[in-house]
Subunit: 220 residues, 2 copies
DNA sequence: GCGCCCTGTGACCGACGGGTCACTTTCTGA
DNA sequence: TCAGAAAGTGACCCGTCGGTCACAGGGCGC
């Protein structure tokens, strides 16, 4: 992100790399990794196919992993930035509501990234090649770990029931994923059969996860 | 399933078709649709490649859709069978606990089917070809609809809070999917970092969805 | 027992696309 | 201005696989 001190040459190189990744993201998200062709990526990035190999010697697969790594890094960064900027003492419920809202907003405005993760990351997690699967597993674990920290803190503070924090983090991710699938998979793209805005989505998820579905108890 | 009255010729034909689908399921789940080859499917089914086309004139894609259709049909059948055999008046919580347990058990003992759905169905839901995406969307909706019915009944009975039943059904599916991902994607296959058995998984999911995560209220 | 037809077969074909490399263009520093 | 280096390019190569089809063989009716 520190683009100031870098020599011009370097900056341009990074910008070209960025342009290639952007093009690849669009193509991969649209056609899927297997269905995408490097010719189309190159064309959309406005480079020759050979040039891609100057920037990604590993070819198609290296490009895919660069995209996936970026997507997971961004997710971890989002969680950590949010936690860092949220004042101490924020009520647990507000804290998590904001976090869910941020994550929903993040993916709703990065539709291609979400598609890529759904189409390819999930597939790679079950890859035969143990190395690939393990890499994906590690990326996912980093996100889970980032979420586990505030969950555990809330449990320590007595705000949340003491449950396996790791499992709760998985559940949170699962709900965000499920919500996004429901919202973005409606026929015709981003039209919404369920609630459409990040706020409403966060309301729904937070309310159910915190309060549960049951009626038979007092409610504020 | 009615194999009695069918003439022998028909039965054998269906059995062969079944064998081909089984082989294809194994190969597709392992290598992914794009990575799988019909040669391998044919070999594993112990037929010549040409024979596949006698049973699936549409080729590779028809085989994939047959598998996915079967998987969704089985899910709907599972839900409906469970609801049919569960006595009237079963407490809501017990009803849903059993349902979740059934679904978890179903997929835990059909690992290949789960992998296929994760790898391919999710990908197809975002397919460019609107027809393909719409088909998948319809399949998913049938499952959601089957789940929505008991949820709405429970809301009508006052056992669950009045919330958009459709959204709650999505959420339930999302949690089951998330749980299975967490459990089956551990490095090394089906080893479990979270809770491993359908019972424990159903306990966890039911408890959180019904009671919520908060501590600050009375609990039985 | 005979011949027709239905089913199975796998060698073959052609499209496709990932990756390469000899050549061109652009940039840099003297 | 120019030579050498660095970066860009796309025609080409070649392995791979979905799909085809001419032929084989076994079962069924006659």
């Amino acid at each position: 992100m520190e683009i100031g001190p870098l020599p011009r040459r370097e900056r341009e190189r990074l910008a070209r790399r960025r342009a290639m990744l952007d093009a690849a993201l669009a193509v991969f998200a649209e056609k899927g990794y297997a269905g995408a062709t490097l010719d189309e990526v190159a064309e959309r990035a406005e480079f020759g196919k050979g040039t891609l190999y100057n920037y990604f010697p590993g070819g198609k697969e290296e490009i895919l992993f660069a995209l996936i790594d970026d997507a997971y890094d961004a997710m971890v960064a989002l969680v950590e930035a949010y936690l860092a900027e949220t004042p101490e003492g924020t009520p647990t419920r507000v804290l998590f509501h904001g976090l869910v809202e941020r994550m929903l907003a993040h993916f709703l405005e990065r539709h291609a990234t979400f598609r890529l993760l759904v189409k390819e990351a999930q597939r790679l997690m079950f890859d035969d090649a143990a190395a690939r699967a393990a890499h994906l597993y590690r990326l996912r674990e980093r996100v889970i770990a980032a979420l586990t920290r505030p969950i555990e803190a809330a449990m320590d503070a007595g705000a949340l029931r003491r449950l396996p924090a790791h499992a709760v983090a998985h559940l949170l991710i699962g709900n965000i994923h499920g919500y996004l699938m429901a919202v973005t998979c409606a026929p015709g793209g981003v039209a919404a059969p369920v609630t459409p805005s990040p706020e409403q989505g966060a309301d729904f998820i937070t309310e159910i996860l915190f309060d549960g579905l049951l009626t038979d108890r007092s409610r504020p």
